[in-house]
Symmetry: C2
């Protein structure tokens, strides 16, 4: 799949009406070495569908999302392109190459968007492909939050107390213990007005030691005056990191599939009776 043009708003602007495009960036360039070197985790099937397929589909189904960019590596490109063709996704505008680190992949996506002329007020939702069960309300929550804030992230309160550690000889020791009520586990999507995330990455790119595991951090550290709103996440929006996560992921997928089937039957009955 070749890179195509990403929606720009020139047309709408000419008509005096402006709905900022909503672009989902699905990051699927991870090597997933902790999972299985021979079988990248984004391609592992859950309930018969590759993990990255679940993620792309979540944004494809959301009517407010206008465009999708998928970031891949050479190892997974062919499989993901095939998956997109087979799945009939209509919003995927580009499948681009990412980089060695997560931040490199986000940066590559931002460059693609910039080259495509995406306006500064576009809403960019950056999502880890290995969080296959992101809900429509979480995606909507990000889009809504960007009406009020220039940055927002899905996160859920940590039920565990968080410990911040430091090196203590050959093991980790506890350095500080933040208040639990102020401790959140970041999930994705992480959402930004395009100008905001683009500027934050431009500032960060000058720092060779900066290797963020999270896009929110780039904004918090480089644009400290920009508030980042929390959008309610849930434990079901889990990240598939290791094989230990698979039983839980399979359980969630089964429940989602069951609920969808139930809904389908319900709709059929309603249509038959109406």
């Amino acid at each position: 799949m070749e890179q195509q043009n990403v929606t720009t708003t020139d047309g709408e602007q000419a008509q005096g009406r402006h709905d900022a495009p909503v672009v989902a960036v699905v990051l699927a360039a991870g090597s997933g070495l902790r999972f299985d070197p021979d079988n990248p985790k984004q391609l592992v099937a859950i309930d018969g569908r590759p993990i990255v397929g679940w993620s792309i589909d979540a944004f494809e189904r959301n009517a407010r999302v206008s465009d999708i960019i998928v970031v891949v590596n050479a190892q997974v490109r062919a499989a993901i392109e095939q998956l997109i063709r087979d799945g009939g996704a209509t919003k995927v505008r580009a499948v681009i190459d990412g980089g060695a680190e997560r931040a490199d992949s986000t940066a590559a996506a931002l460059e693609t968007l910039s080259a495509a002329g995406v306006p500064g007020d576009a809403k960019i939702l950056i999502h880890d492909s290995v969080r296959p069960f992101v809900t429509q309300s979480q995606i909507d929550g990000c889009i809504d939050a960007l009406e009020e804030f220039d940055a927002a992230t899905v996160a859920c309160p940590s039920t565990d107390t968080i410990l911040l550690t430091e090196d203590l000889g050959d093991r980790q020791g506890v350095k500080s213990v933040p208040e639990r009520r102020h401790s959140y586990r970041a999930q994705t999507p992480q959402a930004f007005r395009f100008a905001t995330i683009h500027e934050a990455y431009a500032l960060a790119s000058d720092d060779p030691d900066f290797r963020p595991t999270d896009d929110t951090r780039v904004v918090v550290d480089y644009l400290p005056d920009t508030p980042v709103a929390i959008v309610g996440g849930s434990p079901l929006n889990m990240k598939v990191t290791t094989r230990d996560d698979m039983p839980f992921a399979t359980l969630i997928a089964g429940e989602i599939t069951k609920a969808a089937a139930k809904q389908q039957v319900h709709t059929m009955f309603q249509q038959a009776l109406s």
Copy 2:
């Protein structure tokens, strides 16, 4: 069950040999309102056994644990006493009343231990009863760590980036994003030499605003020069917090039961063939 004497080491000391007692404190005084007001979560059965039963049994089975104290509230006392009688636990020395907050329950246990003459070098392992799947290696890891450190806690690296938040109007906003490699999720047991945790709680008791959700924090905040070692935890040592956690908990319990049955069959064959 009435309070009984907790092992003291006078006997061993008289013989010129000193093995510090290892006392497990199982906290089961939580009201669990987030779960079900009518059915306290520590009594909910997983795979046929109440959650608190799983927890007490983990310490009962560990040969290095000498004594167990169970902290309860009025609502669950009778059921837990019955459970201890039926389960044939031989190390439970006292079932005591806790307090409104978690820290009150720990403080009550420490007072009981102090009154029983437990020596300052006793190893105290404080455990949340709603973490039913603590492993023997995690318990052993705590006991071992206290040879080198006066405080240790089971924790596992956070696979999610952690966000520390602040109030942002009517929602939470991100204040800072600590390095993921230094972000751990605290689990239990949290383990301390008795003198250390007793002193930390004595210092904290003067502060009426101090309501820690975690015993490690009491040491980190009030005895800042005391290093607290991290003992490797795992996602399986999960906390049952809400009903959403039950499917995962049931899955883990099933795997544990299956593994135990397999081990039993294996042992039977070995005995038959030897």
